[in-house]
Every structure is written in C-alpha cells, then in structure tokens.
Subunit: 182 residues, 2 copies
C-alpha cells in the first residue's frame, strides 16, 4: 500500500522527466495531439498537470484533513489550462510545473503523515475515498498523462516510420484503441 | 519528414528520461509488468532497448549503406535480454543503455547525412524500407517502450487508487485495451 514516501519518490521525478523529454526540443516533436479528435499536445498535458497542482491535489488533502466526508471536494477543472496557458511556451510551462510541484510536495510533508492515510473524504462523483487513494491517484495521474505525452510525440512522426508502424503499438492504438502490435 | 538532427534530438534524451524516472527508485514502483500475461517490467524494457543498441539500429544502418536491398537485415531478437540481463540491476541497465546510446549516436553522425535518408534496405518481414524510416522508427520505438515503462509503474499501484481507477486510462487499458477513462 502506498506510503507518503513512496508517492513522493514518484511525484518529485515527474518535472525532471518532462524536462529531459521536452526542454528545448525541436517543435517537430510537439505540435501533434495524442489522438486525432479532442487529443492533447504535450503543452496541453503540461497545462492540465499545472491545474492539478494549482487547485486539486493539495486542496483535496486539506479538505480531507479539515472536513473529512462532511464537505465534498471541488470538481477538477479539466480544461482550465486552455485559456490560462494559451500564450505560454512549453519551456515556461515546464518551469512553472516544477516550481508548483516542489512547493506542493513540501506542503504535503507539512500536512500529513502515514498515520493520516486512512482518513476519508468525499469525491463529488466517486463518493468516499481515502487520503491514501488520493495520494496514489496523484502519482498514477502523473504516469497516465506523461505516457500521453509520449503518444503525442510518437503521433508527430506517424507518417515517417513506413511499414514499421505494424510493430509500433503506440501508433496503432491512435487509430484503433484495441490494436496490438504485430 | 524526419531528419537525422530531429531524430537525434529525441534519441539523445531517452537515457536521461529513463534515469530521471527510474534511477534509485523504490522497488515498489518497478516490480510489476505492464500487462498481466507476457508483460514487461521496467527492467525488461531497458533490456530490450539495450538489445536494439547492441544489434539492431546501427547494424541496419550499416547494412543499408553497404548492401542496399541486396542483403536483408538480421532479425531483431526481441527476447535476447532475458538471459543476458537476468542478474543486472535496473541502475546498471540505465548506465549501460546510456553508454551504448551515446556511442551509437556518435556512430550515426559518422555514418550518414540527410542525403542518405532515401537509401533503401530490405527488412526480412516488411520488405523494402528507407534509412529515413529506420531512423524514425528508432525514435518512435523509444517512445513506445518508454510509455510501456509508465504503464508498468502505474500497474504497480493499480490496487491503491480505489474508485479513481475509472478515470485512469493507463490502468483501465491494462484490463481492456479498448477502454477509455470515464
């Protein structure tokens, strides 16, 4: 079961992972969305992760610790980044995310210990959840969306791999989610 | 269309991305496979990437430049890592991959220029391919398998996210490849 140390060991890495992957990279890799309709470019994913740092993970931790199940979480604004970050560059978003994440991990360490992880809160759609589930979800949400960045970057070169596409699940799934590489 | 500079800009990043993600991380994140049957742990993915550096990408580049379509590529040994790397630690594999990748990018720069990218070779199953397709595939293959590492890491905490799993496509796809997050 996830501990705060274990979750933090993952969460502190994500800004460095994204910077290693995207910092200063050629635009040819970053202007395509992961899926054709309603997909996200790497920049959109960064914006979504920033929204989580600004309004979600720590606010929900505080809500659990202050109000338990008596007051539900505010809803996660999944498209808040669209207007907010329209003029920001990818490199600016990488810096912003790293700053926010570091501050939030410092705040988490002040707020909670492993003894708090079974405390409960109320999700507006999912019902009762524990702080352990919230912290675990924060980390897995990072993994989910960072993987989405890889899918968008692969998609940018879909036309360039020729017949090898048949072996590249990350491209095949863009056309058909159930596809597996041959 | 992919140039050597563009492919290299991606390929040089992968060892740093994997080190930022995995270097010294708590084992709790790295002992699960991406899919239940025949899946790979992060360590297995590193081994597979190392095989590519040892026997595939540069050898195939040389084959195209020396023999064109007259002599097909050797087959990629997709499971060569299983015996070779059984005793290696994840951190040792990260170091090994970084060393091999740096040497291979230096070798690529010696071997080929963009003027060579339309030269053709013969894949044993896929037929005629260009050097441009080979170099593009090298990069997208990195993205595909690094995304697989994220899926394996997410899977390690599948049981810890509680009802949030309904929103986490990276976990839902492990049970059902066609699943999309609610």
């Amino acid at each position: 079961m996830t501990t705060i140390a274990e979750a933090t060991d993952l969460l502190r890495r994500t800004p460095d992972v994204l910077r290693a992957l995207l910092g200063g990279i050629d635009d040819a890799w970053t202007e395509t969305t992961d899926v054709p309709a309603h997909g996200w470019r790497p920049k959109d994913v960064l914006g979504h992760l920033i929204t989580g740092e600004l309004t979600d993970w720590i606010a929900r931790t505080e809500r659990i610790l202050e109000h338990g199940v008596d007051r539900p979480f505010d809803r996660f604004e999944r498209f808040a980044h669209e207007d907010r970050d329209a003029d920001a560059t990818l490199d600016e978003l990488l810096d912003r995310f790293a700053t926010l994440r570091a501050a939030n991990l410092a705040r988490l360490a002040e707020l909670a210990t492993d003894a708090d992880l079974d405390r409960r809160g109320l999700h507006p759609s999912l019902g009762e959840v524990t702080l352990r589930e919230l912290i675990s979800t924060w980390a897995v949400h990072d993994l989910d969306h960072t993987a989405q960045v890889f899918a968008a970057m692969a998609a940018s070169h879909d036309a360039d791999v020729g017949p090898w596409k048949a072996y590249l699940g990350i491209l095949l799934r863009r056309d058909d989610p159930s596809a597996t590489a041959g």
